[in-house]
């Protein structure tokens, strides 16, 4: 590419910084569970770190199951119309 400019995330350090901010925020949010006295609508909310754990585990299960689903759902891209060529051309909206 003619453009050799360095961009924000071309520097791995910046990616690391973002990740550290995320880890820090997660730690703070987890700690807040013990500080803030929340209203309880449901017994499970009393559990220690219910929302953080539910979010984390839920997402891991989601991805693992989805990956497993690929084993029997995935087909070639032109599965439904094999004789036709796939085109990625942006010939849509006839912009002038």
């Amino acid at each position: 590419m003619k453009n050799n400019k360095k961009y924000l995330f071309d520097n791995p350090l910046n990616v690391k910084r973002i990740l550290y901010v995320l880890y820090g925020t997660c730690a703070v949010l987890f700690a807040l569970d013990f500080v803030i006295n929340r209203k309880i609508y449901h017994a499970w909310e009393n559990l220690w770190g219910f929302y953080p754990i539910y979010g984390f585990v839920g997402c891991v299960i989601l991805v693992v199951v989805a990956t497993w689903m690929r084993s029997f759902l995935m087909r070639p891209e032109n599965y439904y119309d094999p004789e036709e060529e796939m085109s990625n051309d942006d010939n849509d909206d006839r912009s002038s």
Binding site: L32, R38, G58, M69, L73, D90
Partner: protein, 566 residues
């Protein structure tokens, strides 16, 4: 009141007519002005029946307004306005006329006071929107459009039959609470359900929306499913079955969204997921739940439109839409990136963004109503929607690996449209009272208490943490060029294949039977002919010359006789 009797869909239909005969800047100006004028007019419209007449002994009410329909009327005007600005650069009469007609049909449908008017707008929605898919002008889009049209028209026909049964059962066509009683109730429920993308009837959406044009998808995402949600909210509030259907709708699409490569198809799956929240709200049917459902519909039109617009901008500028081909676009499309992230934060329901103030209502209502398992499913779906729409969409389009594509930000009109949508997302998130004031019920709900904010933030941040962890571990499924089977496999593969197979078997069996019969027949004839060979009877194959002469003489004699008597 000036032109009070003019139903709000009329300006759009007139606009479509004008758009058909004008060109260029004039057409663009007219198309932008119409939703503004029409919205101003609608703002003045009070509740009540504004137009009715008698037809075959039934009251036909093409134009009636209450708080529910007015709210949908407002959001449809906003959606039309934003989408029209987004499509200002388009020079394609077919698309522009279809878009105006489509917006008008959606607006007409929510102000229809009887089932017959509703049916007419229901079918108009299908007929006008399909041109936004055809307008891509590829074989794929044509096929997808035809499948879309068949499903949509089918939904309309079921609605019509249901309406006729309803008229027979209740002796009225007025569209109010229907409920799951009698054949009419179920038929109309199924018709609404198809348009609402209920599980197993959802593939028209994921099939057709990603095949529409860049601007067409933005229109499509706003109207059809929301009209269905409106219809359910009016006809079936508090129907328990809807809670479970809605909960299923929130959960199953997120699995497909995670492994889907076409980013606009990912958004189509997440559209079903969001509609699922609304359906749960309608199913619970309490004031809080209904408020949650319709306000979520209101917000979804804006943030889903914003996401479709940002992905449309990527498609428009790069010509690609697959996650596997994209990446690193933040470098040259910074504005689109930021606007997309606003949409992603809104759909993920981050506090201070619009999704939060409406989704939390549905979830609170589920808890209050004692639907614990449904609440857990919604919570899982909330984490999941952040995962696939909140992170996956911006990450694979704008970050991830550098695809080397250096496309610039899209034309100004597209950016302006996305900017308006983003402002509304943040505005509603920061100041929800403006939206709450328009809702059908006054519940005094406040989303910004420490409990809600902390719970939601924890859920989202740990979902993000899961994404990071999975990515670092290399467990995140890579974006691959592929087609994922879904329920549409049944009608796109199984049924055609079964039909083809059975047809070929029938043809073969038929051919074999004919062959057998013909062989038997000719054998029999040969046998009979052999038996009578040389005997000069009726069954003889070769007749002697003498008998021929005799028959000629007989005919001549008969001829002579006939001339004699005449």
């Amino acid at each position: 009141m000036w032109m009070l009797e003019i139903p709000p869909f009329v300006p759009f239909f007139v606009g479509a007519l004008i758009a058909a005969v004008t060109r260029g800047t004039l057409r663009g100006a007219i198309m932008v002005i119409i939703p503004i004028v029409s919205a101003y007019h609608l703002w003045m419209v009070p509740e009540g029946i504004h137009l009715q007449f008698e037809f075959l002994g039934y009251q036909i009410i093409p134009y009636t307004a209450d708080r529910l329909s007015l709210l949908f009327g407002y959001i449809f005007h906003i959606a039309a306005f934003i989408a029209i600005i987004y499509a200002l650069h388009v020079r394609d009469t077919m698309q522009q006329v279809a878009a105006m007609m489509y917006a008008g049909s959606g607006i007409g449908a929510v102000f229809a006071g009887d089932l017959l008017s509703l049916f007419i707008f229901w079918e108009l929605l299908a007929l006008t929107s399909v041109f936004l898919i055809f307008a891509r002008r590829t074989q794929r889009s044509y096929d997808a459009g035809m499948r879309y049209l068949i499903v949509q028209v089918l939904s309309g026909v079921i609605l019509l039959v249901g309406a006729l049964f309803y008229a027979a059962e209740h002796d009225t066509l007025t569209f109010g609470f229907i409920g799951l009683e009698g054949i009419a109730g179920w038929l109309i429920f199924i018709a609404f359900g198809i348009k609402c993308a209920f599980p197993m009837a959802h593939n028209w959406l994921t099939d057709a929306y990603p095949e529409a044009t860049v601007t067409g998808t933005v229109f499509l995402s706003a109207f059809t499913t929301k009209v269905a949600v409106y219809a359910l909210a009016r006809g079936y509030p508090g129907t328990e079955l809807l809670i479970y259907i809605g909960a299923a709708m929130t959960c199953f699409p997120i699995f497909f969204a995670v492994i889907e490569n076409d980013l606009r198809r990912v958004l189509a799956y997440s559209l079903i997921n969001q509609v699922g929240f609304m359906v749960v709200g309608v199913g619970i049917g309490t004031a809080l739940a209904l408020n949650g459902a319709v306000s979520h519909a209101f917000n979804d039109v804006i943030f889903k439109g914003l996401l479709f617009m940002s992905m449309g901008a990527v498609l428009h500028m790069t010509g690609r839409m697959n996650g596997s081909d994209l990446g690193g676009l933040y470098k040259t499309m910074p504005k689109t990136t930021i606007l997309c992230i606003v949409g992603a934060a809104s759909i993920s329901a981050f506090p201070l963004f619009s999704g939060f103030v409406s989704k939390s209502m549905v979830m609170s209502a589920a808890l209050e109503n004692g639907n614990d398992w449904v609440w857990l499913m919604l919570l899982f779906a909330s984490a999941g929607v952040f995962h696939h729409a909140g992170i996956k969409i911006p990450y694979f389009a704008f970050f991830a690996h550098d695809s080397g594509i250096r496309a610039s930000d899209p034309p100004t009109n597209m950016l302006v449209a996305m900017f308006i949508a983003a402002c509304l997302c943040i505005g509603i998130g920061v100041y929800p009272s403006a939206l709450y004031a328009l809702l059908p019920f006054d519940t005094g709900y406040n989303p910004y208490d420490a409990t809600h904010v902390l719970a939601q933030t924890q859920l989202l941040f740990f979902s993000a943490l899961a994404f990071v962890w999975l990515n670092l571990k290399g467990m995140y499924p890579p974006e691959l060029h592929s087609t994922n089977l879904d329920a549409d496999w049944f009608y796109r593969r199984l049924f055609p294949a079964a039909l083809q197979r059975s047809t070929s078997v029938i043809v073969k069996a038929d051919g074999a039977m004919r062959q057998m019969f013909m062989t038997k027949l000719s054998h029999g004839m040969a046998f009979v002919a052999r038996q009578y060979d040389g005997k000069n009877s009726l069954f003889t194959r070769a007749h002697p010359a003498g008998s021929m002469i005799m028959w000629v003489v007989v005919i001549l004699a008969l001829y002579l006789f006939l001339t004699f008597i005449s």
